[in-house]
């Protein structure tokens, strides 16, 4: 495995961009990112089921799995860290097949999502969980695009500047969560508990 690198990228995130990103790279994103979590994903998939258009332009889009805390006066957003991505696993392959290129969240993904990442030359980034105050400083604008009734779960369009993430699953399916943990594991195998 080659050494980890620091990279700066701008949206939209095309296959040309993802091709150069490798698991373990530290990446700063600048540009437009959509924000959606559980309830918004469910609605988007239901809309597709009714043959309706998606409320966002999904081609080469990055979706940040996040539900912010309320913004104080004069600020674009409140605390804004990633939520657990596995809850979106049920919906992600469909969106990836429609052109979504990057997901930002935290935590493990299923085999189905990893396969969809490889199939579509996409990428899964992790932002640091529990760093919502720090990450909010990289968000310069935020507007609700749709599903406003969902409150913190509404779909937003945000502008980010040098938003820090780490490539966890790259377009070839390399998974940092697996390789990095092996590197530091010293505890013998855990007994099976049922």
């Amino acid at each position: 495995m080659r050494g980890r690198m620091d990279k700066h990228i701008t949206t939209p995130i095309t296959a040309q961009v993802t091709r150069d990103l490798k698991a373990g790279d530290y990446v700063y994103i600048t540009g437009t990112v959509y924000v959606a979590r559980d309830a918004a994903h469910k609605r988007m998939i239901e809309a597709l089921g009714r043959q309706e258009e998606l409320p966002i332009d999904i081609k080469d889009a990055a979706i940040y799995y996040m539900g912010p805390s309320p913004a104080r006066e004069g600020r674009p957003i409140g605390s804004a860290g990633p939520t657990t991505a596995s809850r979106m696993d049920k919906y992600a392959p469909v969106l990836l097949d429609l052109g979504e290129k990057a997901m930002i969240g935290k935590g493990k993904r299923t085999r189905e999502v990893i396969d969809a990442i490889i199939r579509n030359q996409a990428v899964y980034f992790a932002a640091v969980g529990g760093a919502g105050a720090l990450l909010s400083k990289c968000i310069t604008k935020s507007e609700i695009v749709c599903y406003e009734d969902l409150g913190a779960e509404a779909i937003r369009k945000i502008e980010v500047e040098n938003f820090p993430v780490i490539v966890v699953i790259d377009s070839e399916g390399n998974n940092l969560y697996e390789t990095a943990v092996r590197e530091f594991a010293v505890t013998e195998t855990v007994g099976e508990v049922r």
Binding site: S69, A71, A80, G129, A133, L134, V181
Partner: protein
């Protein structure tokens, strides 16, 4: 009908040492505590996080821990919640048996405090009123309240807003007595290994051993509010806490789950008597914020 005993009328006068507590005081304190817990790390967690930043072996792990330090600084200086998941409010009320409450019902007072705290504190409303219909209650109520009656005339309140990234990775194992201490160790390691990056490591691991199905879960939840760095006063449990912390940190999960030597900051184990046929074990996992604030009225 049984006639052998006539209960005395409730004693209510001051000579009998009953202390009156206004429920308005509960509202005010719960409100403040919800806000405090979400903006400022408790001193025990702060110490543990600083220490972790010094001892972490992975370069990326060190970088993440230093980001988390910076995050805490920004949260404090710019009044932004440490994490956007400002939690479901878990409230422990230890009520002295010589306390008499005046005002609204205690449960209503707790919920009113949560409502005011989450609104005034710009905290995220993360509670749905029904687990399947899933409509947001828009004020983060109801809280989860655990009452206990204790000797004395004080009211001890602990507010521990719980985020669900880590809550979702928690487990209950109904082990067999024959599984013994090794079974408990494997249960804890299994839960932590499976939680991995999802639970926002470095985590705090609360463990309940014994009791019944629900009792062990509550023991684990209470273990999370024990200050990090304090150990069980049962010598062999203290040893198990130390050993499990070492083994968990040897799993390699690391800060953010991106590899490293700091996977947990503490393992706190609480035990209770149990049935001859059982060995319940609950593992309640919390993230590196592990919010908890305690006050005594």
């Amino acid at each position: 009908m049984y006639h052998g005993y006539t209960p005395k009328k409730p004693r209510r006068n001051e000579e009998n040492m009953i202390r009156t507590v206004e429920t308005d005081l509960i509202i005010k304190n719960i409100k403040e505590m919800c806000i405090e817990a979400n903006y400022y790390l408790s001193p025990d967690m702060d110490r543990a996080m600083k220490q972790a930043a010094d001892t972490e072996k992975s370069e990326l792990g060190k970088k993440i821990l230093s980001q988390l330090q910076e995050n805490l600084k920004i949260a404090d200086e710019e009044t932004i919640p440490i994490c956007q998941d400002t939690g479901m409010a878990v409230v422990f009320l230890e009520v002295g048996q010589d306390v008499h409450f005046e005002g609204m019902s205690v449960g209503d007072a707790v919920n009113e405090g949560v409502r005011q705290g989450y609104e005034e504190g710009y905290l995220r409303k993360s509670v749905v009123g029904d687990p399947l219909i899933r409509e947001n209650t828009k004020d983060n109520t109801p809280a989860v309240i655990h009452y206990s009656i204790v000797p004395g005339d004080k009211v001890k309140i602990t507010v521990a807003p719980k985020g669900f990234g880590s809550e979702n990775m928690s487990r209950v194992f109904m082990l067999k007595p024959a599984d013994g201490a090794d079974g408990v160790r494997d249960a804890v390691l299994t839960a932590v290994r499976d939680a991995g990056p999802n639970a926002c490591p470095p985590m705090v691991v609360g463990v309940g051993v014994g009791g019944t199905f629900e009792k062990c879960a509550l023991l684990a939840k209470r273990a999370l509010i024990r200050p990090v760095g304090e150990h069980s006063d049962i010598p062999y449990i203290e040893e198990m806490e130390t050993e499990l912390l070492r083994k968990i940190n040897g799993l390699g999960i690391g800060p953010g789950g991106l590899g490293g030597s700091t996977t947990a900051l503490a393992v706190n184990i609480n035990t209770y008597a149990t049935h001859i046929a059982g060995l319940p074990v609950a593992v309640n996992i919390c993230c590196h914020v592990n919010r908890h604030v305690t006050r005594e009225l």
